[in-house]
Amino acid sequence: MKSPKFDYVRAGSVADAMTAYAEADGDAVFVSGGHSVVPSLALRLQAPALMIDLSAIEALSGIDLRDGWLRIGAMTRHAQAMTDPLIATHAPLFAAAAPFVAHPAIRNRGTLGGSLAHADPASEFPAAALAMRAELEIASAQGIRRVPADDFFVDIYETAIEPGEVLQAIHVPCAVAGQMVAFDEIARRRGDYAMVGAAVQAVSAGEGLQDVSIAMFSVGNRPVRAASAQVALTGRALDAPAIAAAQAALADDLDPPDDPQFPASMRLHLARVLLGRVLAKLETAA
């Protein structure tokens, strides 16, 4: 289908974008890569009066190290996450997740900021951000605030970004010595949204695993931190009994819904199988 009519403005700055939104009385949509917005317009799922293009705003691009954090501009394309050396070193779960996101041509346009702001619960980057304990830099008329990923994802397609606010950047704490990561998902076809997915980060230290961080996705209305599974692994060597304990603990962390494709029990089963695989990959990476 074709999109309904709308007006268009290419914002030169974040302030301009927020002003344009306010002047349209909120009957507007921000666009970055446009690969979620444009299909939704073509399908006539929304019909805003104004599209505000964020892609030319300089403050939203660039990737740099600042005080122990990697700042990744919201406009960073999925494809860049696969090739950027700073992301590979300091935000490795974004690099690991990117090949699972859609298809090559979509990755040339889709942005990290757009993916996080869109907050599809079956999306890869939101889970990677949660597992890396990223913080999201949001601009509003009142100023700039940083929201931890644990508080950012609120519900299906809903985040801590209020209407008219702009996600400017993603801050990821720099990798520490001994840090291991692994990412995987189960999908019916390459490039599809996951049936279930897992992003894991941990530090291997003398006294066993530390700083274990596990984010599961496509298991509910937002990416979910598997807190019980994290506890089950902390301080232990990464061996078969520890992995089994983490898999068992997932029942306390996840409460997947029944859905038309398959029952909740199957999703929990798949999540356990996948967590086992991902932890085994961590092991070999160590």
Binding site: F6, R10, V38, A42, L43, P104, A105, R190
Partner: protein
């Protein structure tokens, strides 16, 4: 609202006035009559509409013409005239890697991008690169063969198809 845009299409500067909702694909097909860019799903799923935007393949159904203002677009007509894909085209032809031809534009775009990033891809890598391109006719096998054979030829392995 109408917006004036200027972009480079196949090396030529094009000035047009468009509604913001006009997709790059509609601009190319309806205004510029470059109908080698096909439209199937108009939602990013089928890959029939791929064009090169500043050198990288993108879905022309998901890029608005206004977003392409100031950028360089290359369509299959441009690639064809440049001769840069003539070996790929010959392999597609030789191996029956197209039947109705609806998907072929996108297949050639994806293949060309793959081979410029990764000149010696495995068959699995070729399949991965085509994950966003649907073909309802060939069963894909001949397409993968054609791309693998082109990679071999470009690396100087095997005979050239005339």
């Amino acid at each position: 609202m109408n917006i004036e845009i200027a972009l480079t299409v196949n090396g030529e500067t094009v000035r047009e006035t468009v509604e913001p909702r006009t997709s790059l694909a509609d601009l190319l097909r309806d205004r510029l009559r470059l109908t080698g860019t096909h439209l199937g799903c108009e939602m990013g799923s089928c890959g029939a509409c791929l064009v090169m935007l500043d050198g990288a393949p993108v879905h022309a159904c998901l890029v608005l013409a206004v977003q392409a203002d100031g950028q360089k677009v290359e369509t299959i007509e441009g690639l064809n005239e440049s001769g840069h894909v003539s070996d790929l085209q010959a392999q597609f032809h030789d191996r029956n890697a197209l039947q109705c031809g609806f998907c072929t534009n996108g297949m050639v775009m994806s293949a060309q991008a793959l081979l410029s990033d990764n000149p010696r891809p495995s068959r699995a890598e070729i399949r991965d690169a085509l994950s966003g391109n649907y073909c309802r006719c060939t069963g894909y096998e001949a397409i993968v063969d054609a791309i693998a054979a082109t990679a071999d030829r470009r690396a100087g392995i095997g005979e050239t198809v005339e």
